[in-house]
Amino acid sequence: MVASAFREFRAGALALAPLLVGVMPFGMIYGALALSQGLSPAAALAMSTILFAGSAQFLFCQLLGAGVPAPVMVAEVGLLNLRHTLYSAALAPRIAHLPRRWKLALAYLLTDEAYAVIARRETVADAGPDRHWFYLGAGLALWSGWQLSTAAGVVVGARLPTDWPLDFALPLTFIAIVVPLIRNRTLLAVAVVSGIVALLAAGLPFKLGLLAAALAGMAVGWRLAGRMR
């Protein structure tokens, strides 16, 4: 039983390792960006543990730099992370039998990357009794890579020229995540509506246009998906 748990843990960590090639430069850019937006090195490092969500940490720095009020910051970070409910819903039935401490740990480690690896494991391999160790291995591998690369970014970031357009890494990373997700016409319609509303509502205070655009896109998807059944 112990040997099987270790095997699963190691398989999870190894399955996640290739993704670190993309994640670690991103973590370094985050560390540098956080300092450039006025966060202290301690706060920049702590955020990687407290939030453990790359894109949300980027957004946090951006909103902080723009002087957005605290409640709006919390709401928009929450909105950006709302996609994690998807992963939570998918993982929930598979870990329903585990003790609470496992559920808390796996929820904390639930990210885009970890979920991608877990989903692939579920489709290709038999569901063994120790597969939660696989989830833990994948989650901790990403967590370690993220903390290390953030620390590297904080160290190097102080020496980067301030006029480098590091903030552009955020839209580029989102493009890399969102483009492969647009697999059908309904999702394309969601993207188009959300993009248009984001432009029209860009003048709203506190970046509330983001909220309006995301809700408009979701509403269109909901209507189109309803019509097809």
Binding site: V21, G22, P25, A43, A46, I50, F52, A70, M73, V74, V77, L80, N81, R83, H84, T85, L86, S88, A89, L91, A92, P93, A96, K103, L104, L106, A107, Y108, F168, A169, L170, P171, L172, T173, F174, I175, A176, I177, V178, V179, P180, L181, T186, L187, A191, S194, G195, I196, V197, A198, L199, A202, G209, A213, A214, G217, M218, G221, W222, A225
Partner: protein, 102 residues
Amino acid sequence: MSVWLIMGLCGVVTFAIRLSFIAAEGKVAFPPGFRRLLPFVPVATLTALVIPELLMPQGTLWLAWDNARLMAGVAAIVIAATTRSVPWTLVGGFVVLGVWPA
């Protein structure tokens, strides 16, 4: 408000979101339409963040060849669609942004 407090609140919200269905499994019945909404959340949110960064880099609509961020974004979209790779999309986008005459 202290930046640490805001960070803590963001952390609590993020953790609550990740725990939501895991904690509720077998205890709460969600309305049937709710799960139908979930697949659209990532596309709607991420697109709303990206488009103004490309078309309004300085706060107003800038639809022109010399908007380097727009051109870099279009290149990144093409690269993401063909390679599905985060590192290549980042590299390609930054290269176009760097070499585009602005």
